[in-house]
Amino acid sequence: MRRLYGAHPLHLLSLLGCFALAGYAALQASSDPKALRIALWFLGALIAHDLVLFPLYALSDRLVGGLLPRRRHHGRLVALPGTVNFVRVPALLSGLLLLVFFPVVLRRSEPAYGAASGLDQSPYLGRWLLITGVLFLGSAVLYALRVRRTREPAHTD
């Protein structure tokens, strides 16, 4: 069994259990008039993360890393260790907030939102920009402090 299958029989049993339960849930959902749309969104969620979001942020990160000023260290051109984080961290946090809250930030759902709450979504873009500004400013201040510290030879880490 192990030789043919490649793992302990319990491995097979637990996976069959998983597929049976997931299959039953899919079968129940299949009676919904929009079942095909649900299935496409399920597949889309996988693709959107693995083949769009991940490559996008990984490449952006490398791009930002490549743009940093470099200096010679043991014969190699390197950026000051950790410098990239002063751009990476605020960009990541701001991007994450946009990823999660884009419906209100970009006022995408105003009609339904208005019908429910009686309000509009005008405040959110400003709030997101404000948070983004605070994140980058905070990072800039920390960076300035670090530059000052590394220039003063009296202070060592």
Binding site: R2, R3, L4, Y5, G6, H11, S14, L15, G17, C18, F19, L21, A22, Y24, A25, A26, Q28, A29, D32, K34, R37, I38, W41, F42, L43, A45, L46, A48, H49, D50, F54, G65, A79, P81, G82, N85, R88, L92, L96, L97, V100, F101, P103, V104, V105, R108, S109, A112, Y113, A115, A116, S117, G118, L119, Q121, Y124, R127, W128, I131, D157
Partner: protein
């Protein structure tokens, strides 16, 4: 080549049955391009220990999401047709029970946890996926049927968690771009996730525990960037063969992911705990003003198509006898005041002081001794919650009201004037507004 299995044993043959097919796949099947070259992965901090830290956090958080989600479905009291969506879930039906009315913050806590935790776990889920992404592009994708099946279950796991997070995030912000019924999709999606999650934990728990033990958290938290080195090469293929110089320490990465989680919580928590100015980015973080009726509205009177003039309004209560009451007659009955929350499935809540007639007084007035359920209908003609069924506890609970005033003034049209239901611990939408009729069943 001998493969080291998860439990540390080495398996004899390299390939499962049929070996020639798996061998051919490995040797000849690799797609061209850099994507399936393990040297593509450069992060010096990726490794089983870091993955396991994220996994451990999710192992605590995700079961809470599952339980609160299923409880929320049961709080809608699906034993009464038309009360919960999806209505009939056949074999995925949990045992029904009469949802309690005590403590009054029960549903508020449940949904605050479900939505708040779901949002806070987004960075952890993304970090976990980042940490294992080299495995998605590992070649060969499988050397045996066992690995092939496990990969299929991982597709279900990742697909379902992302599906659940995406539909949840869109729904709490009223972005119905998905075009299907949210409740139905989120409920069945949760069962797919439950199946894949339990299986994944069963198969991977030993690896997680072993990996967590491979390094000490306390030491990692003391290791600065300058002293950060990759984890030793592992049998899972997570550690980079050809890593870059580190640009962030492991403790730094953990701080960023944890910080992202806290940031999301910080800009949303106010909608649940009642400090709205801090809920900068939550859809229900806006203030309505300072008047007694200026608090969160879930459906405006205009949207619900409630006529402007409701002066001829009467309430009909059907029981052993049928009683019809005008608003003045209701106001002349004994009034009871209670401080109760409206808690929405979307995670937001608002606590107000409601005054009106106790539902149990109306039940008695209609000559019913022991009500089993009560169907409440609204003046609203369309809308999924124009009708809701209350259970027996909700009908006799001393704090369950047909509210006529809130915070000392008449209800506003948007809050359900002439009269609305307010029941402790019930999902928000079951607090029917613009009540027209209550039909009791003994």
């Amino acid at each position: 080549m001998t493969e080291v299995r998860d439990d540390g044993e080495t398996t004899g043959p390299d390939y499962g049955f049929p070996a020639p097919v798996f061998r051919l796949l490995e040797e000849k099947g690799r797609p061209p391009g850099p994507l399936f070259n393990p040297r593509l992965w450069k992060s010096p901090i990726r490794g089983p220990w870091l993955t396991s830290v994220f996994a451990a956090v999710l192992l605590v958080g995700l079961p809470i999401l599952i339980v609160t989600g299923l409880l929320s479905y049961l709080a809608y009291q699906p034993q009464f047709p038309g009360n919960a969506f999806p209505g009939d879930v056949h074999g995925l039906r949990l045992p029904y029970f009469t949802w309690p009315t005590n403590p009054s913050w029960l549903y508020r806590l449940n949904q605050g946890l479900h939505v708040g935790l779901g949002l806070a776990l987004i960075p952890i889920v993304l970090a976990k996926l980042w940490s294992v992404i080299p495995k998605l592009f590992a070649w060969p994708p499988a050397r045996s049927a066992a690995q092939l099946l496990e990969r299929a279950s991982l597709a279900l796991l990742v697909g379902s968690i992302l599906f659940e997070l995406a539909t949840g995030v869109l729904n709490i912000q009223y972005d119905y771009v998905f075009g299907f019924d949210f409740y139905t999709a989120h409920y069945y999606g949760a069962w797919v996730f439950l199946a894949a999650f339990v299986t994944h934990v069963a198969l991977k728990l030993p690896v997680m525990v072993r990996s967590l033990r491979s390094r000490r958290l306390r030491d990692e938290l003391r290791t600065p960037l300058a002293a950060t080195v990759p984890e030793p090469l592992d049998e899972h293929g997570l550690v980079a063969i050809d890593p870059d110089d580190p640009t962030i320490s492991r403790r730094g990465a953990l701080a960023v992911v944890g910080g992202a989680s806290l940031l999301i919580t910080a800009v949303t928590l106010g909608e649940t705990v009642g400090w709205r100015p801090s809920a900068l980015l939550s859809a229900r973080g806006q203030d309505y003003g300072d008047d007694p009726t200026d608090f969160q509205v879930n459906r405006t009177a205009r949207t619900a198509g409630i006529p402007k003039d409701v002066s001829g309004w009467t309430l009909t209560v059907v029981g052993a006898s049928t009683v019809t009451l005008t608003r003045d007659e209701l106001l002349a009955m004994p009034q009871h005041t209670a401080e109760l929350p409206i808690a929405c499935v979307e995670g937001w809540s608002t606590v107000q002081t409601w005054t009106g007639v106790r539902l149990r007084d109306l039940v008695r007035l209609a000559g019913v001794e022991r009500p089993e359920s009560g169907v409440v209908t609204s003046l609203e003609k369309r809308g999924a919650f124009a009708r809701a069924v209350l259970n027996r506890k909700q009908l006799v609970e001393p704090d369950a009201l047909l509210a006529l005033t809130v915070n000392g003034v008449d209800l506003s049209p948007d809050h359900g004037y002439p009269a609305r239901i307010i029941v402790p611990a019930a999902p928000g939408v079951h607090n029917t507004k613009w009540v027209e009729r209550i039909e009791l069943r003994a």
